[in-house]
């Protein structure tokens, strides 16, 4: 790799589309030049991922005028308008990295193993634990039925009892699990449990799986050490999983950095952004099949994937999990259950269709609110207890958190929400994306929101492993579209009662002073890269972050939408009566100019 990079090519091989971006250095700045895409070619009839990569690169060549390919070879290094200095890639083709995890205690080592696999960018197919109440034979059956890409076995603190971890190994050996891709190789299994059990584990599993031993992810009760196992997952992802996927052996030789699982790359970028900006952030990527949630709170990274919450393939599951009543509550009109159900199922079986009517758009955005809400709930449930590497706590603290299931996701401390995925990035009006996220996540106090413009976070994530400067610069300049700031109060009150009074001093010196009644929403225009000063004083029953009735002062940043003042209470007080709720939703939509006819 040349010491100075002038042209960088990055691809993300998704399940259906391979997306390529070209980053060029112009006037001393790294900027996105063009983006190209082509169908992914992992499946028949091509069965070679590089075909789709080459097609996407060809589109980049056509759009940019830069010659990148010499036949089927990427030209490196760059010389003028010919070639690129670096090529990197991520991949989630073929369903991504599918891992089954096992640990002794469900709430402890098994949960640590789950966090480890998720943090490495995997989809966790199942979590087995000695105390998960399934009888042994059922666990063995489950291991046999699932065909994961790899297994992560943890269990026991170092020096503790080995019998439970060994028992899990015995189950795995009895199940004789087979890998999802290919038949001619053994399933990789990472053992990251009690070091005293290593020899016994080797004895039981050696020869039955491709055993790989790494440091214990929970060496002592009050310490979690996810790094080594996560690193090993990435190594095995390349050595075993990628090597089995069609065309990847070739692709690996083209890249200037190891290929990363797509969510791992996005997570890495989120961590980098949170660290560089010194903020707590929540990121969400809502796709057709799955929704990924990332969070970084006080420097602790967590990721979860809600495997069956999505806007096309999984849209019907959103209805099934959220329930009809929860979806209906966001619709500013009445719709027959039969009609709504059929529409949702038709989207599921024809996932590439798009809403043509405003009503259809509102149905999809109602479902998106519920998918996002449920995904955050799942994230909150896992982002608990011990986090990250070598964070030590007392045993009593550890036990208290385990028992209470205390989440790290504190919405009062949340600074930034980043939304990604078609329903958010391609919402016809940016206000729709902003309100979907506010309604779903219900942030508290002052929170800044943004969306990913064209889904290039995976590309920038893997790029950050070799050139952080280029990755973060392009992220700030070309990837994120700032939406604006939400100021929201916690509490509940009577209709018409004042929730908070506010004074906003806009950049042009104009002062907006008003009182917002409970149950209302208001937006103020404030452009991208503009800041305003805000003072807000809640009435006695409400809190803006520093206590009930106490005034807050601060700066708010603008964006494509501006500032949204939210006095609808937490949880948002939606009327039970249909007519009243429809009026309410229409009033809120009008307040933020949500739809063309103000409906």
């Amino acid at each position: 790799m040349p010491s100075e990079l002038h042209a960088i090519l990055a691809t993300d091989c998704g399940s259906t589309t391979t997306k390529a971006i070209l980053i060029e250095r112009r006037s001393g700045e790294y900027r996105l030049s063009v983006r190209g895409e082509a169908p992914t070619t992992v499946e028949a009839p091509f069965e070679d991922v590089t075909r789709g990569v080459l097609n996407a690169i060809q589109e980049v060549e056509e759009l940019s005028g830069r010659t990148i390919l010499d036949g089927e070879r990427i030209i490196t290094p760059a010389q003028g308008r010919r070639g690129v200095d670096l090529y990197v890639s991520t991949s989630s083709a073929g369903g991504g990295l599918q891992v089954m995890v096992a640990g002794v205690v469900k709430q402890m080592t098994a949960e640590s193993a789950q966090r480890c696999a998720l943090g490495a960018g995997a989809i966790v197919m199942d979590v087995l634990a000695s105390n998960d109440e399934r009888p042994g034979w059922e666990k063995i059956e489950r291991i046999r039925q699932l065909r994961p890409d790899m297994l992560l076995l943890s269990g026991g603190t170092d020096g503790g009892t080995i019998s439970h971890g060994v028992e899990l190994a015995e189950y795995i050996a009895a199940a004789n699990p087979r890998p999802r891709l290919g038949t001619g190789y053994q399933l990789p299994l990472i053992y990251a449990g009690n070091r005293d059990a290593r020899e016994k584990i080797k004895e039981i599993l050696g020869g039955k799986v491709a055993l790989s031993i790494t440091e214990n992810i929970r060496p002592v009760l009050e310490q979690e050490n996810l790094g080594p196992a996560r690193h090993r997952i990435h190594e095995l992802f390349l050595e075993h999983v990628m090597a089995q996927a069609p065309g990847y052996r070739k692709l690996i030789t083209w890249t200037g950095a190891p290929i990363m699982p797509t969510p791992a790359a996005v997570g890495l970028l989120m961590e980098t952004v949170a660290r560089k900006r010194g903020v707590n952030l929540l990121g969400v990527d809502i796709g057709g099949a799955t929704t990924d949630v990332f969070s970084v709170f006080e420097g602790v990274f967590n990721r979860t994937v809600s495997a069956n919450l999505g806007m096309s393939y999984s849209i019907s599951n959103v209805l099934a999990e959220a329930g009809l009543e929860h979806v209906n509550r966001w619709l500013p009109f009445e719709m027959e259950e039969q009609d709504l159900r059929n529409r949702i199922k038709n989207k599921m079986i024809r996932p590439t269709t798009i809403p043509q009517t405003l009503e259809d758009l509102q149905v999809e955005q109602a479902l998106a609110r519920e998918a996002l809400r449920l995904a955050l709930e799942q994230h909150k449930a896992l982002a608990v207890g011990l986090k990250g590497v070598h964070r030590e706590r007392s045993i009593s603290e550890a036990l208290m958190q385990e028992a209470a299931g205390e989440t790290l996701i504190d919405l009062w401390k949340l600074d930034l929400i980043i939304g990604s995925g078609g329903i958010l990035s391609h919402a016809p009006r940016r206000a729709q994306a902003m309100l979907m996220m506010i309604d779903a996540f219900q942030p508290l106090g002052i929170t800044y929101l943004a969306v990913d413009s064209i889904f290039m976070m995976p590309h920038l994530g893997v790029l950050s492993t070799v050139h952080e400067e280029a990755a973060t610069f392009v992220f700030d300049k070309d990837c994120l579209i700032p939406l604006g700031t939400c100021l929201a109060a916690a509490g509940a009150g009577g209709s018409g009662e004042v929730c908070f009074e506010f004074t906003v001093t806009l950049p042009n010196g104009e002062v907006v002073k008003d009182a917002l009644p409970f149950g209302e929403l208001k937006s103020l225009p404030l452009g991208e890269r503009e800041e305003a000063l805000i003072e807000a004083t809640p009435t006695r029953g409400f809190d803006l972050g520093v206590g009930k009735g106490r005034k807050i002062e601060g700066k708010v940043q603008g964006g494509a939408v501006g500032v949204i003042l939210d006095a609808r209470g937490r949880p948002i007080a939606l009327a039970k009566d249909l007519k009243m709720r429809v009026d309410q939703l229409r009033r809120w939509a009008k307040a933020v100019d949500l739809y063309p006819d103000g409906s």
Binding site: S15, V42, S163, A289, N342, I354
Partner: protein, 386 residues
């Protein structure tokens, strides 16, 4: 651009199809390349390892794991019968003896000196893999199975439930927009792949099941009925393993939607013929759609009634079905507000246009049957070849 790619379900009167029939685990292949096969021919078989049960011997006997072997009556690999003692304590007083009995008939898989448990495994279960199609073996996959080829008429549905089945094609409706109702189904439809029209309700499916219909192929179904049939809300379109007593294939979607004329006509032209079908659907990368395969190398059953093609308006010509969309093509609109309507492509404007949602998307101008022209996003149509 007057020629664009748009997805469409495959409906073709003649094609060569190859089905890869492989075992989930290595086994024995029973056919050879070139062998003719019928749908019921076993092409390969394997022994699926039996279920494993755990018996916590040390807890039951009150001993430590390290001592377990000295209390075992059976060794690893030895056969056992259900209820047979596999371990026992040795007290001084014999009648205080505790025995641990095997919960199943099988073999001792493992005795663990660490956990103190014994794993016992049921005998292997034979698994037979059928050819599914009438055709011939064109390739043998050693230890796994075979590739079966047949020349057939082929119809893809949009969504299905239930697995593979075989039967003769029978009709219970006259027109593609007829609703299939319970009284239209009789004992003569037992074992058939029964073709309905635009819609089937839960009560009709129950009637079909009672009669012993093997599969139903219809235009549409209400999602509420699907939920009642399955007993749960189907969240993700990955199907094929449901057990509702028959296989159900929707050719058009959810709601009442007339079966595409081309699909109906092709099925009608093969009334009485033997067909293989599957409801298995997977709408993800590597899409699997439900299918009806009608091998052409067969004469219609003389006992079945002659196909009243004239009544059902079948045509004999079927042009190729793959390719792009051009002006003049017939399409089905697959999204509101014109969902289910058949239209003709009048114009394919190259530039994106703003639609009612304010999204700017690529569109087509379509002429509806009533003569109106409407703008439709290109993503919201499927090609129907005539």
């Amino acid at each position: 651009m007057a020629h664009v790619y748009t997805p469409g379900l495959r409906v073709t009167p003649r094609m060569v199809i190859r089905k890869r029939r492989v075992l989930p685990i290595p086994g024995e292949v029973l056919v050879r390349e070139g062998d003719p096969v019928e749908s019921s021919t076993v092409v390969a078989r394997a022994l699926l390892p039996g279920k494993v049960y755990t018996v916590n011997v040390v807890n039951r006997l009150g001993i430590s794991p390290g001592e377990i072997r000295s209390y075992m009556l059976k060794k690893e690999g030895e056969p056992i019968e259900a209820g047979e003692p596999i371990a026992e304590s040795r007290p001084f007083i014999k009648w205080l003896k505790t025995q641990v009995l095997s919960p199943i008939t099988g073999t001792i898989e493992m005795v663990s000196e660490v956990t103190g448990q014994v794993l016992v495994r049921e005998p292997p279960q034979p698994l037979e893999l059928f050819a599914y199609l009438d055709g011939k073996v064109v390739e043998v996959v050693p230890k796994e199975g075979a590739v079966v080829e047949t020349t057939c008429a082929f119809i893809q549905g949009i969504f299905g439930i239930g697995g593979e089945t075989v039967g003769k094609l029978a009709f219970a409706v006259e027109r593609p927009d007829d609703v299939l109702t319970p009284e239209k189904i009789g004992p003569e439809h037992r074992g058939a792949i029964l073709i309905g029209g635009s819609f089937v309700a839960e009560e009709t499916i129950k009637r079909a099941r009672e009669v012993g219909v093997n599969a139903l192929v219809v235009g549409g179904l209400n999602d509420l009925d699907l939920r009642r049939l399955l007993g749960y809300d189907l969240g993700v379109a990955i199907t094929g393993t449901e057990r509702i007593g028959l296989t159900l294939i929707l050719t058009e979607g959810f709601g009442k939607i007339p079966m595409a004329g081309r699909t109906f006509d092709l099925l009608a032209s093969k009334e009485g013929w033997k067909a293989s079908c599957s409801g298995a659907t997977q709408i993800r990368a590597g899409v699997i759609r439900p299918e009806v395969i009608i091998p052409l190398d067969q004469a219609p059953d003389p006992k079945s009634p002659p196909s009243p093609l004239s009544k059902r308006g079948a045509r004999g010509d079927f042009p190729p079905e793959e390719g792009g969309m051009s002006v003049g093509d017939t399409v089905r609109i697959i999204r509101e507000p014109y969902f289910g309507l058949i239209a003709r492509v009048k114009e394919l404007p190259p530039e994106p246009r703003q639609i009612a949602t304010e999204s700017k998307v690529r569109v087509l101008i379509a002429s509806l049957p009533d003569g109106h022209d409407v703008i439709i996003p290109r993503a919201n149509v499927e090609l129907i070849e005539e």
